[in-house]
Structure formats: structure tokens, C-alpha cells
């Protein structure tokens, strides 16, 4: 039978995910996929290179490298049997997948932040705040829950910039240490959700290849 396919997020989770897989006995094949010269960034440091599809040394797993927000899509559609995704991305995407294992890395929080000089006032007194974010669904739900009608501005990067140039009043974005916020003169106002990495599984694959899936999940659970 073909190898199980796992979708891995390119970016901040890559290194920890690969480390976890290696400890579970599924190191990525270094053959032809080593650091690929300048510009390799995090992936190169982790030995992934620029290939998009890789195999584990033991040949039991195939890896698809995807943008973090796309990992739940690969898994929901069954293009990947398994995936590693941040809980933030997972809740934003609302994809129909199993989440059998919580992984102890990629800890961060999704927060509402605003300019440091902004007058201190209760969020509930806002009229209809303009909110820049990469997480429109979660941001909308958060403000709606406060009874507010936010104007959500969907961005695909550099969200911190928005309040600085008057594009938005507030942002909803991921924070790990808070350094980026501080450097841009922003302060954290509310926590929308705490996030960490999660192993996700396709519903059909989980049924059709239960034994292989369970073995892998248990191996990963033992390795974390």
C-alpha cells in the first residue's frame, strides 16, 4: 500500500514538526533535499530545501509542504491523510477533520492589539472598529460576541502595519513573544485564543487505514 501522506506547514512550525517526526522514527530523507543554498530560511535550516514533496527515510511517510493555512484543506480533502497545523489556523478554517493529538510546540496566542498611545477604553464602547487580520472568521466572531459590528480588513501579511498608517484601528494577529508588536508601537489588548500545534487526520483515511494511522499517532504521542 502507498505511504501515508502528511501535510506539513512551511514556516514557524516546520522545525519542531520535523524534530518530532524524527524522534518518532520518521526522519525526512536528506537525499537531494538538503539545504538548497541561499534563501532557504527555516526550511533549509531544518534540512527540507525547496522541494514540495518529500519522503521519510523509512519510506513509510510522504510529506507535502504547504502554507500553514492550507494544511487543513489538504487534509479535509484527503489529499493528505494527516497534517500538522496550528490550532489558530484550524479554528479559522473550520475544516471537517479529526484532531487526535495535541502537540506541545508552536505555542502562541491570537490577540487583539492596538496602538500603544490609544486612549484606554473598554472595547465594548467601540462603534464599529476597523480590524486588520489574517483571521477574518475568528476576529469577526470575537467582536460579534462583544455585541460589536467590526469592519474586518483581510490581509495576507504585515498586519502590524495597518494601525500605523491608519488602515485599521485594531489588529487581530498571532503573538509569540510580543516583540514584533512592541517594535511597531502596538500593545496587546485581549487574548482571542491560545494556540499550539495539532496533529489532524482525514476522516476517510482514519477509517480506511486505521491501524497505520493509530501506529503513527501513538509513535508521535510517545515522541513528544
Amino acid at each position: 500500500m502507498a505511504a501515508l501522506t502528511m501535510a506539513l506547514p512551511k514556516g514557524r512550525l516546520t522545525e519542531d514538526a520535523l524534530g518530532c517526526l524524527a524522534r518518532a522514527g520518521h526522519a525526512i530523507c536528506s537525499n537531494g533535499s538538503g539545504p538548497s543554498g541561499p534563501g532557504g530560511g527555516v526550511e533549509a535550516a531544518a534540512g527540507v530545501g525547496r522541494k514540495l514533496i518529500l519522503e521519510s527515510v523509512d519510506g513509510q511517510l510522504r510529506f507535502v509542504l504547504a502554507k500553514p493555512a492550507d494544511v487543513p484543506i489538504f487534509v479535509e480533502y484527503g489529499a493528505a491523510d494527516l497534517g500538522i497545523a496550528g490550532l489558530d489556523v484550524l479554528r479559522e478554517a473550520e475544516r471537517d477533520v479529526y484532531e487526535p493529538l495535541s502537540l506541545p510546540f508552536g505555542h502562541c496566542r491570537l490577540v487583539v492589539a492596538g496602538p500603544a498611545g490609544r486612549p484606554e477604553r473598554n472595547l465594548r464602547l467601540e462603534r464599529s472598529p476597523k480590524v486588520a487580520t489574517k483571521f477574518p472568521r475568528l476576529a469577526e466572531a470575537f467582536f460579534r460576541k462583544q455585541g460589536l459590528a467590526p469592519e474586518i480588513i483581510v490581509m495576507s501579511g504585515s498586519v502590524e502595519l495597518a494601525p500605523l498608517v491608519g488602515l485599521a484601528d485594531l489588529i487581530v494577529d498571532l503573538v509569540q513573544t510580543g516583540t514584533t508588536l512592541r517594535e511597531n508601537g502596538l500593545v496587546e489588548l485581549r487574548v482571542v485564543m491560545e494556540s499550539h500545534a495539532v496533529l489532524i487526520a482525514n476522516r476517510a483515511s482514519y477509517r480506511l487505514r486505521l491501524a497505520e494511522m493509530r501506529a503513527l499517532i501513538d509513535a508521535l504521542a510517545a515522541a513528544v
Binding site: 484532531e99 495535541s102 476522516r203 476517510a204 477509517r207 480506511l208
Partner: protein
């Protein structure tokens, strides 16, 4: 109302699509295969209306479907809706018309249903469901029959590989009853269990305050209670109340019967499958096939639905989405060829040879008659271009052409041909022939065909059906 004109940029609204030729053959083929199965199992087909009163279809037991319905108004301003599934209309029929009939009733259906749902896995807003309902039979024999029939259906529609996952809402309901959690927490717990998120279940449990040790143990075990019949034994050990025990007993009885049906190998058990908890009242099941990330058949026992429309009746059934089977079959390497004739026949030279065509069709051959009056070479090229593997023309066509070539060499034929073409265009009655001119020089029809396939041309006597059959092989 908004005036709308046809636009080539957007000829179709979202949610609907055309299924052409090969896809239509595949869908109708599946329907035929299913009807054959239903006949053997004595399920009788019903044809249901495409729309009904929205209030009929918007049952409180199917709240999710309610939000997805296409609604519109009739001339009196009453709200109608396109059927979002077939089970609710079937329940309405049973509750209002067939309630005093001898039970059980075994009904089957095939038809389009309509839901505002994002396209997923080959499914648009309109998709085709085929399904069965076994009404008036409570109990395990009915449960097992319907699951076994689901397996038979998945086999019949031509899926090489598939699995059924069987669960029971009574187990989780009983567990929730034992836990007695606040409603909000119970809702979050249900979502976590549905995702098999073990860590989340544990977190929620720790926020629940004091929970009896046995209930804690049962809940933490739940996300892992999936697999062979062995999980039923495991589940039996953590049962806390008669509701949970009854659910396990139902599944164990079904397992035994499914073994007798010969389908036990294809069934996985899963007690953490807790979707549609409000709709179903007993067993629930789904079917999966490799390549399709989602389930393509789902069903279960719903004893509370028919009572909405008339006297209550126990019922169990399933619905299979044919659009998804189409995708799943392709993912498993089954390609439905474009439909094409067995043979393309030219009769332009000899209209009387249509009698032979008629006989060939009566013998089951798929025969296409060339309406363009193509010459043999062009006929062969046309057949190849359209995936038709063979052509045939009356033997005389070749003979006539040779004769014509001879005439042309003498400087007379080409003029005759021009006249003939004009004549045919002005007077369609003449010999019933198209724009060809070969029949200008009549020769007796010898009753033979020149047939041609990839191996080249050969001559076949028109009456020699045995030889024809050999050639077709």
C-alpha cells in the same frame, strides 16, 4: 424584479451543473444497479415531489439542513422549499398516507436534492441521492439489514474498495446523562469528541469540577473506541447506565448479523461518532472510499421523525450521494468511457440497406447511420475521430466509385456529378438520397457489406450474423 438576460459569461447559476454523456451513463448505470439490488431485497421505489411546504421540510430534528434549504414563494405567498433530502418527504408520506398499512414498509428512492452548501468532493448544491428507508421495524434485525444493504449498494455502484463505520448515539447520550454537565460544556465536549481530540476532552473534563471516576474513565476512553468488534467489548466495560449498555448490545447484535450477512470484514465500529446526535435515535453509520476525503453514504435509525407527520413509526435508512461515488470511482481508477456506437454505417448508396441496420439494432448492436453521405475514407476518419471502432458500407459504394472514376477518366463523370448534386439539393424526393451521386449509376445490391476496423477492410455477407459477431469480437 431584476431583469435578467442570458449571459455567455455566466450561463449557469452557482450550485448546479450539467452531467454529459459519459457522466450520465455512469450515473444512470449506478441507478440501474441499485434498482436491481433493491428489487432483490424487496425495497420498492417511490417518486417524491421536488418541492414541498418549507414547514414540512424544516423539521426541528434536522436543524442543520433547515439552514441550507432553497426557499421560494408560491402565488399565494406560502413558503415552499426544494427538498434538502429524501428522508423527510418519505417520513411525510408514511405519516400522512401509509400509517395504517401493514408494516414494515421498505421504500427506496433516487433523485436530486438541493442544499446551499459549498461544493465539496464532487457535490454541488444540487446532487443526486439514492437511498432506502425501512419503516415500522424497531430492533436489531432491521438495523443489520439496512447496513448490509448499504454494503451491497456500495458494491453495486462499482466501488472497488470501501468501508462502513458503525456507531450508536445511545452510548454518548448515556455518557452525557451520567456526566450531567452544564449544557454549554456538554456542547463543547460533544464537538471535542466528534474531532477525536483526546487532549481537548481531557481539558474540558478537568474544567467540569467533580466527576465520578467511572464516568471520567469512560469519557477519556471514548475518542479511542474505534476499530474492530474488540472495541465493543472494551466499551461494554465502561458502560455506566442501561442506555449505554443497550447501545452496546444493539451493536453487538448487529455485528453478529453482519457476520452472517458476510460483510463483517467491511465494518469498523466507532462509538465516538457523535454527529447528528439530535436526529438519530439508535445506530448511525457512514461509508468511506479511498481518495474521497469525506463519507459518501450515511444513515442510521431515526425513530422520532415520522411521529411529526402522523402516528410514530420506528425507521432506519441511508442515503448515498451518486455524485460522490462518481468522484470516488475515478479516484480508484475507474474511467467511464465516452459512449460511442459499435459501428458507423453509411447507407447513402443503398437506402434499402436500412433494413439491415434495423436488424442489427434489434440484435443489440449500437449502430449509428452516417447522415452526411461520407465516402468510405471520410467515413472511417469520422468514426475514428468520434471513438467508433468500426465502419460499414454497402459493397456497391466501392464498386460505384470505381465506375465513377472510370467515367471521369472519359470526361463525362464529373459533369454528371455536378448535375446530380444540384438535383439532390433541389429535389429531396429523388431516391431519398443525400448530396452523393453514386446512385446515379444503379447496380444491383449484392447484399454484402464492406466492413472496416483497425485491421483494415473486408467484405461480409449481410445475412451472416455469426461472422459479424465474430468480427465484432
Amino acid at each position: 424584479m431584476l431583469a435578467q438576460t442570458f449571459s455567455v459569461d455566466r450561463p449557469l447559476p452557482e450550485g448546479v451543473r450539467d452531467l454529459l454523456f459519459a457522466d450520465a451513463v455512469a450515473i444512470r448505470g449506478m441507478a440501474s444497479a441499485l434498482r436491481a439490488i433493491w428489487r432483490n431485497w424487496s425495497y420498492h421505489e417511490i417518486i417524491l415531489p421536488t418541492f414541498e411546504y418549507a414547514a414540512t421540510l424544516a423539521t426541528d430534528v434536522g436543524a442543520e439542513i433547515d439552514a441550507e434549504m432553497y426557499r421560494f414563494l408560491d402565488r399565494q405567498g406560502r413558503t415552499l422549499a426544494l427538498r434538502p433530502d429524501m428522508t423527510i418527504p418519505t417520513a411525510r408520506v408514511i405519516g400522512t398516507r401509509l400509517y395504517d398499512q401493514a408494516m414494515p414498509i421498505r421504500a427506496s428512492y433516487i433523485g436530486s436534492v438541493f442544499r446551499y452548501e459549498p461544493p465539496r468532493a464532487g457535490r454541488q448544491h444540487e446532487f443526486i441521492q439514492a437511498g432506502v428507508e425501512l419503516i415500522g421495524a424497531p430492533g436489531r434485525a432491521a438495523d443489520a439489514e439496512v447496513v448490509a444493504l448499504a454494503v451491497a449498494a456500495l458494491h453495486a455502484v462499482g466501488l472497488p474498495e470501501y468501508r462502513i463505520t458503525l456507531g450508536h448515539v445511545g452510548f454518548f447520550r448515556g455518557l452525557l446523562g451520567a456526566l450531567a454537565l452544564p449544557e454549554r460544556l456538554a456542547g463543547r465536549l460533544r464537538l471535542a469528541v466528534a474531532r477525536k481530540a483526546e487532549a481537548e476532552v481531557a481539558d474540558l473534563l478537568s474544567s467540569a469540577g467533580t466527576v465520578a471516576a467511572a464516568a471520567r474513565r469512560a469519557l477519556l476512553a471514548l475518542p479511542r473506541l474505534t476499530g474492530s468488534t474488540a472495541v465493543l467489548a472494551e466499551a461494554e466495560e465502561v458502560c455506566l447506565n442501561p442506555g449505554m449498555a443497550h447501545a452496546i448490545a444493539d451493536l453487538q447484535a448487529s455485528a453478529k448479523l453482519l457476520d452472517a450477512y458476510g460483510v463483517a470484514d467491511l465494518v469498523t465500529y466507532d462509538l465516538a461518532e457523535v454527529r447528528d446526535l439530535d436526529y438519530y435515535t439508535g445506530i448511525t453509520f457512514e461509508g468511506f472510499a479511498p481518495g474521497l476525503g469525506t463519507s459518501l453514504i450515511s444513515g442510521g435509525r431515526y425513530d422520532d421523525l415520522i411521529g411529526r407527520f402522523g402516528p410514530a413509526q420506528p425507521a432506519v435508512g441511508w442515503a448515498l450521494t451518486l455524485d460522490q461515488v462518481l468522484v470516488a470511482r475515478e479516484m480508484q481508477g475507474i474511467v467511464q468511457p465516452e459512449p460511442a456506437a459499435d459501428i458507423l454505417v453509411s447507407v447513402a448508396a443503398r437506402p434499402e440497406s436500412l433494413a439491415w441496420v434495423g436488424e442489427a439494432r434489434a440484435r443489440g448492436l449500437q449502430v449509428e447511420v452516417d447522415p452526411l453521405g461520407l465516402e468510405p475514407e471520410a467515413l472511417w476518419a469520422a468514426a475514428r475521430g468520434r471513438g467508433i471502432p468500426r465502419v460499414a458500407w454497402p459493397d456497391e459504394v466501392r464498386g460505384n466509385r470505381e465506375q465513377e472514376v472510370g467515367n471521369r477518366a472519359q470526361g463525362t463523370g464529373s459533369r454528371e456529378q455536378e448535375i446530380g448534386t444540384c438535383g439532390a439539393a433541389h429535389d429531396h424526393g429523388e431516391q431519398g438520397a443525400g448530396p452523393t451521386t453514386y446512385s446515379l449509376v444503379p447496380t444491383p445490391y449484392a447484399g454484402a457489406w464492406v466492413v472496416r476496423d483497425a485491421n483494415g477492410p473486408r467484405v461480409l455477407a449481410a445475412g451472416d450474423w455469426e461472422e459479424l459477431a465474430r468480427w465484432l469480437r
